[in-house]
């Protein structure tokens, strides 16, 4: 018998050690910015998954609580700087954002969680549009399209922390990210967390074991908004500016896509999605104008073929790993073949998309498109032929390798079951 929670504790210790060391290894300014963004995205993604994954509520407007809390935080920091408001350490300011998120979550959540399913999704969209519209009307609070500037350097805090240097902000985000992640993990193991799952799976039965489904959803919504607000506050501290886009549909869409790609069915799924998508966004959006198209296609592909997200795909292999790890090795050739054919198809398709984008968006005919390190003329015939050929060959290959992969997985699963049974 192992000590309960020992595994979680050791994983946690490892993660914390990694978070401390990471900025010392990769210490470029850009990398630090990306890591800070990732930390915020992780909190927000986990908060979002309290709704989507744990509670079965699909929201198209959760950025409202992220953004509104960001605005409140910016105003509070400005108020502290002007000494209009009593001082509190910036280290604790995420709590202000959390409370702001909670406040709006309780208020708006009461109306929107009266309905579930599709109606809830549409209502969340309506509130997202309403919030975006209000940013242009209530200038006093939102300051229109300009947004609200702020300065995180309010006063020197413990150990001489000023939050002037980015590295200090990174550690602030890292600490809060760990606290929030642990808190949200623990919430899944409370009566509320269990009933939230129950309402997701079978809202009808929940009523007949004494629970008011609206109350459960409302509570989930409010608590989720608290953590979204916490992330929003850290965003305000990190970039020292909150604009109308933070409450908008775009922000909500990105978090939804992140969480879904990561996987809604496992607690770590959203973390995975937040890390992956933030990294890709940071490094690909400069290279390719078609980045959002790829993101959308990945998302649609996941919905169609892997509704469990990346975490779901990984966890599919868990029974095999536990029963007989050597079976995983036996699947390697099938995986390699599928990967190879996919790569060929991808290279072709990406080439086509990049050339199409180049032709439609580039005005000057003199610049050449640089694709895979090769300068070429996108209006020419040959690059298109090559890309079409690659895409077709890859697709043809995939149509052979993927069934084989599925077959290999089936065999491995079968043998794993036999190994367990014997």
């Amino acid at each position: 018998m192992t000590i309960p929670g020992a595994k979680q504790t050791s994983v946690g210790a490892l993660v914390i050690a990694l978070l401390i060391i990471l900025p010392l290894i990769v210490n470029s300014g850009f990398a630090l910015t990306v890591m800070s963004q990732t930390g915020i995205a992780i909190i927000f993604a986990l908060a979002f998954n309290m709704l989507l994954g744990q509670g079965g509520m699909l929201s198209f407007g959760h950025a409202v609580y992220f953004g509104l809390a960001g605005y409140v935080t910016a105003h509070v920091m400005n108020g502290m700087a002007n000494e209009d408001l009593p001082y509190m350490p910036v280290s604790l300011i995420p709590l202000v954002g959390g409370v702001a998120g909670l406040f709006f979550g309780i208020l708006i959540g009461f109306v929107s969680t009266r309905r579930a399913g599709t109606a809830f999704a549409m209502i969340s969209l309506g509130f997202a549009e309403l919030a975006t519209g209000l940013t242009l009307i209530i200038i006093f609070f939102f300051n229109g399209e300009e947004g609200v500037q702020t300065d995180r350097w309010v006063r020197e805090e413990w150990f001489g922390i000023t939050y002037g240097p980015d590295i200090q902000v990174y550690y602030l985000i890292a600490v809060w990210c760990v606290i929030a992640a642990i808190a949200m993990y623990l919430l899944t193991r409370t009566p509320f967390g269990r009933m939230s799952n129950a309402v997701r799976d079978n809202p009808e039965r929940v009523q007949f074991i004494g629970y008011n489904t609206h109350r459960v959803r409302w509570l989930a919504f409010s608590l989720s908004s608290f953590f979204a607000g916490l992330a929003g506050a850290l965003h305000a501290v990190n970039v020292e500016h909150v604009g109308f886009e933070t409450v908008g549909l775009g922000q909500s869409a990105v978090i939804l896509i992140m969480v879904y790609i990561g996987g809604t069915g496992h607690f770590a799924g959203p973390i995975l999605g937040a890390i992956l998508i933030t990294l890709l966004n940071a490094y690909l959006s400069d290279i390719s104008p078609a980045w959002y198209l790829y993101l959308g296609l990945i998302f649609v592909g996941m919905v169609m073929f892997a509704p469990g997200g990346l975490a779901g795909l990984i966890m599919m292999h868990d029974p095999i790993r536990r029963a007989a790890p050597h079976l995983l090795m036996r699947m390697a050739p099938a995986y390699a073949a599928a990967f190879g054919t996919s790569l060929v198809a991808l290279v072709g398709c990406i080439g086509l998309v990049e050339m199409a984008y180049f032709l439609s968006t580039t005005v000057s005919r003199n610049t050449a498109l640089i694709l895979y390190g090769i300068a070429l003329d996108a209006a020419d015939f040959w690059p298109w032929l090559v890309c079409v050929a690659l895409a077709a060959a890859g697709a043809l290959g995939c149509s052979r390798t993927y069934p084989r992969l599925a077959e290999s997985y089936g065999t491995a699963m079968h043998e794993a079951r036999r190994a367990v049974a014997s």
Partner: protein, 315 residues
């Protein structure tokens, strides 16, 4: 008086355009339980297709061909992409159409660029139909009204008086029964989805040249259409019609009258020289809040009547 008549007219016109979208969305929703998030994207495709076709061939062929193309595309999407997702449930379907909307917007940018395309009102219709008290009303607007009312009437008779309409209405409530009577329900689904998208395509063709044809047009109109069907009551065509007209008229009235909202606030004892948040409120006019009208209506409806105007079922 003339302002009233004109804004009523424009409001009804905008409302009917909304209804063209909302009716297809409602048909699809009530039959398949799928809320097609990409519905406004098909509207956008209608406008872009019409632009592309009208370049060489002119407006009239585009008016026929673009909606058909959009409808076929919609049917293909249902058949090859949405149907496999069906087994994962309605939330997965909603997520799929959401992803589709995202992808369509990017593809439109990829093909036609990020700036608006010059899709214009055909010159033959761009003439004044009547002028009254110094305000012009163009033939094209009358034409839009004619088309949308015509489609509404055709839809109404098609659903109530024809055999296929009977099957569709039966599939709405009793899909299994209809299937066991020997009708191919998946095929009915596919064509409903296609026709719903084609209706959105028509709205795109006749509305794109007035509202502007650009990659952002779907995401601007989409949420309003969703509000229409939630306010009208999910699954109710009559509710969708009333909600469309209500939102269309309210929106246009709010813009053309542009009342100051100060009198309301002064009743609450707010000074005109107020500061802070109140300063923003006293200077508000109805024109400024016009874009918010649909969403305010949504919130009001949720508080007063969560099922919507004519909602019959909870979702």
């Amino acid at each position: 008086m003339e302002v009233f008549v004109f804004s009523l007219f424009n409001g009804v016109l905008y409302g009917m355009l909304l209804f063209l979208l909302a009716s297809g969305l409602t048909l699809i929703f009530s039959m398949m339980g799928v809320l097609n998030f990409a519905h406004a994207s098909f509207f956008m495709l209608g406008a872009y297709f019409a632009y592309q076709i009208s370049q060489p061939l002119g407006f009239w062929p585009a008016l026929i061909a673009a909606p058909i193309l959009v409808g076929v595309l919609g049917a293909a999407v249902e058949r090859y992409a949405l149907r496999p997702v069906h087994r994962f449930g309605h939330v997965a379907e909603l997520l799929f159409t959401f992803g589709l909307a995202f992808v369509i917007e990017e593809v439109v940018q990829m093909i036609w660029g990020k700036v608006p395309v010059p899709y214009d009102v055909p010159p033959s219709l761009n003439v004044t139909a009547f002028a009254w008290q110094g305000l012009d009303y163009s033939v094209y607007r009358l034409f839009m009204l004619l088309i949308s009312v015509g489609i509404f009437v055709a839809l109404f008779f098609g659903l109530t008086r024809t055999r296929i309409g009977l099957i569709i209405r039966a599939s709405l409530t009793h899909p299994h029964m209809v299937a066991s009577l020997g009708h191919d329900v998946p095929k009915v689904f596919m064509w409903t989805f296609g026709v719903g998208c084609a209706l959105a395509g028509v709205a795109g063709v006749i509305g794109g040249n007035v509202l502007g044809t650009e990659p952002g047009m779907a995401i601007q109109l989409g949420p309003i259409v969703f509000v229409v069907i939630v306010v009208g009551g999910l699954g109710s065509l009559g509710g969708a019609l009333i909600a469309s007209l209500l939102i269309g008229v309210l929106n246009n009235m709010a813009i053309s009258y542009d009342f100051s909202l100060y009198p309301i606030f002064s009743l609450l004892g707010v000074e005109r020289e107020a500061e802070g948040i109140l300063a923003d409120l006293v200077s508000l006019t109805t024109g400024a809040i016009a874009p918010l009208v649909p969403y305010l209506l949504l919130v009001l409806m949720l508080i007063l009547r969560p099922r919507g105007l004519f909602g019959t079922r909870d979702v």
